[in-house]
């Protein structure tokens, strides 16, 4: 007996979409970016952003210690916190992705 997918919809559930398919427009409503990106692309963007933030934090910290002109007392601290928080966030997302992947791999089909 073929699985009646429409029957699932009747319960208010959506059929599962394969993970390898790129995220489609119209489904993802909370990003303003139109181009389709895979998880891999989005994740490497995130890594680059976090790396950039950490470099900025390094530079500003050095400036602060050297007593360079033009640095305010709060700049370096805020840069450090941003880098730290972004890194934490990235790690949390990575953790979730890995656990989701593991869950799926464990699923008996």
């Amino acid at each position: 007996m073929a699985m009646n997918i429409n029957g699932i919809k009747a319960y208010g559930m959506e059929p599962i979409k394969p993970i390898t398919q790129p995220v489609q427009e119209g489904v993802n409503t909370n990003t303003t970016e139109k181009p389709q990106k895979s998880f891999g692309d989005m994740f490497s963007d995130a890594i680059k952003t976090v790396d950039g933030l950490q470099q900025t934090a390094d530079i500003k910290s050095q400036d602060m210690i050297r007593g360079a002109d033009g640095i305010t007392p709060h700049e370096a601290m805020i840069a450090l916190e941003k880098a730290d928080t972004a890194f934490q966030l990235m790690n949390a997302i990575r953790g979730k992705i890995i656990r989701a992947y593991e869950d799926i791999m464990r699923t008996q089909v």
């Binding site: 963007d45 933030l53 305010t72 805020i78 730290d84 928080t85 934490q88």
Partner: protein
């Protein structure tokens, strides 16, 4: 998708407020140090509207405007210029610094800076806790 933009839109406003109050602090301290310098003219930065706008970023009614970075005028330094401070009377030696006004301003401005610092600290703490919960 930029992670730092995700984190908290109101952070940018508070950071800007700290930049502006720190800048103003330079004018105030120059005035105080030069209160007895003949011919010295008091100065100030005039950006109270910028400051209000920076703090109002966390006002819920402004949330809609934040989705486009063009709507927030925080990147422009339009209000942050040194201007003559005419709050004090000119003394016989040409100096016009009123020490009492400057000290009052010092107290007010520094309290704004410190408030902003505490706000930012709290926000980062909250973010950190939230991430730990989710992760």
């Amino acid at each position: 998708m930029k992670i730092d933009k995700l984190l908290d839109p109101s952070l940018a406003g508070i950071e800007k407020a700290m930049d502006l109050t720190w800048k103003r602090n330079q004018a105030i301290t120059s005035n105080i140090a030069n209160v007895e310098t003949p011919q010295y003219r008091a100065v100030d930065y005039n950006f109270s509207t910028e400051l209000d706008r920076a703090f109002n970023v966390s006002d819920p009614s402004n949330q809609i405007k934040q989705t486009s970075s063009k709507h927030m005028d925080l990147s422009s330094e339009s209000g942050a210029h040194l201007m003559p401070d005419l709050s004090g009377a000119t003394k016989p030696d040409g100096n016009n610094v009123d020490i009492d006004i400057q000290m009052g301003r010092l107290a007010y401005n520094s309290s704004k800076y410190i408030q902003a610092a505490n706000l930012i600290r709290k926000k980062f703490q909250i973010l950190s806790n939230a991430i730990r919960q989710v992760g």
